[in-house]
């Protein structure tokens, strides 16, 4: 195999970047993590992602790939080893559908349920998150979304397992709880305890601290 040059442009604490780190770890790919300052975007970031100027960006032998789920699919196809997506076309379609559902219906609503000043707006988003979680709760049939082993959808849902509990604690909300969504809650605990996942999650305290100060600044600016 030719020299593999793999770089990941990212920030510590981003669930999207974390998805890619999990995929790389799963395939045993060695890479260089290049931390970015999103307030002061590097030339490298602008060169590799001129359209969206966001992280994560995977650069493989100088070729950039953007968008976390697209990167994960790329990693699955470019490297042998444990499969992330199933082989069957219909199962693959379901995996892509549910990953998109998580992107469209969970991320923004979860964020807005915490980091919004307007009370009505906040409540509306909490409701949306609950609706989305109920749908996922009903969908979760086995141990993981991927079945006996975790797969594409579980990796896509890493923000639910790690980030949602942090931001809900910051704001004193109940988004993901054992009482409301027992299967989803159990999933989150199982998932975060998987060795591969554990190694890819950022440290809890600094991330919590980051969200807490952001939340407090938001409340302060509203008064």
């Amino acid at each position: 195999m030719a020299e593999e040059d793999v770089k990941l442009l990212g920030v510590l604490g981003s669930p999207f970047v974390c998805r890619v780190q999990i995929a790389l770890k799963l395939k045993g790919v060695e890479y260089q993590f290049v931390p970015q300052d999103l307030q002061n975007k590097s030339e490298e970031l602008l060169k590799y992602n001129p359209i969206h100027k966001k992280v994560p960006v995977l650069v493989h032998n100088e070729k950039p790939i953007n968008e976390s789920l697209i990167i994960v699919e790329y990693i699955d196809e470019a490297w042998k080893g444990k499969s992330i997506l199933p082989a069957d076309p219909y199962q693959r379609a379901l995996a892509r559908f549910w990953a998109k559902f998580i992107d469209d219906k969970v991320f923004i609503a979860a964020w807005k349920s915490v980091f919004t000043v307007d009370k009505n707006e906040r409540e509306k988003n909490v409701e949306e998150v609950h609706e989305a979680f109920q749908i996922l709760e009903d969908e979760l049939k086995g141990k993981f979304f991927g079945g006996e082993e975790f797969g594409f959808v579980d990796i896509a849902a890493v923000n639910i397992a790690f980030w949602v509990p942090l931001i809900q604690e910051v704001a004193g909300l109940q988004l993901l709880t054992n009482e409301k969504f027992p299967k989803l809650y159990k999933w989150s605990q199982e998932f975060m305890n998987q060795p591969t996942i554990k190694e890819c999650l950022p440290p809890r305290d600094p991330i919590f601290g980051f969200f807490k100060s952001r939340y407090e600044n938001l409340l302060a600016s509203a008064n």
């Binding site: 969206h52 790329y74 470019a78 219909y90 693959r92 379609a93 379901l94």
Partner: protein, 220 residues
Amino acid sequence: MDSSDNEQVRLLGKWASPFSNRVDLALKLKGVPYKYSEEDLANKSVDLLNYNPVHKKVPVLVHNGNSIAESLVILQYIDEAWNNHPFLPQEPYQRALARFWCKTLDDKILPAIWNACWSNEKGREKAVEEALEALKILQDELKDKKFFGGETIGLVDIAANFIGYWVSILQEIAGLELLTIEKFPKLYKWSQEYINHPVIKEGLPPRDELFAFFKASAKK
């Protein structure tokens, strides 16, 4: 195995929707026979609610009793379930690029153009600027290729049906000049190749009817 029952392919769609049309085009390019049903979203059918309970939207593809929703997910499914006329190249990086452009079409390019065409006077200038920027990004990606897929229609071309066909109608209704031969010669040329492609031509909804449909919406 009774092939006619097991291979039954159904598309629940809306004739004027580019998202629904993407699936028509994909099935026609693969030469897959299917049954089409026009859905009334104001009065959702039992089938629609059954096959897409999560979003209750079209398009929905049903194949061998399995239902798939979300147009880009459906397109990739069709490409993987039927091996002829591949929509994606073999090489992983090229595949990733194609997926990226499909997503960028949906997340950035289509909304920018749609907003410009439906913008009121107040937001018009900025909306048009964003739409032109979006078209430039797309043209830069096309470069000198005949199609986004190269010599043949690929996943991005199918996903870009809105650009190839709907934009010309919507911009006329809005009185805007977005995709023109002067502003975007390469992308314009692509749109002409696209709508004249023998399979695509048969798969697109009739222009007069589409024009009338959107013009009526504009009046409301």
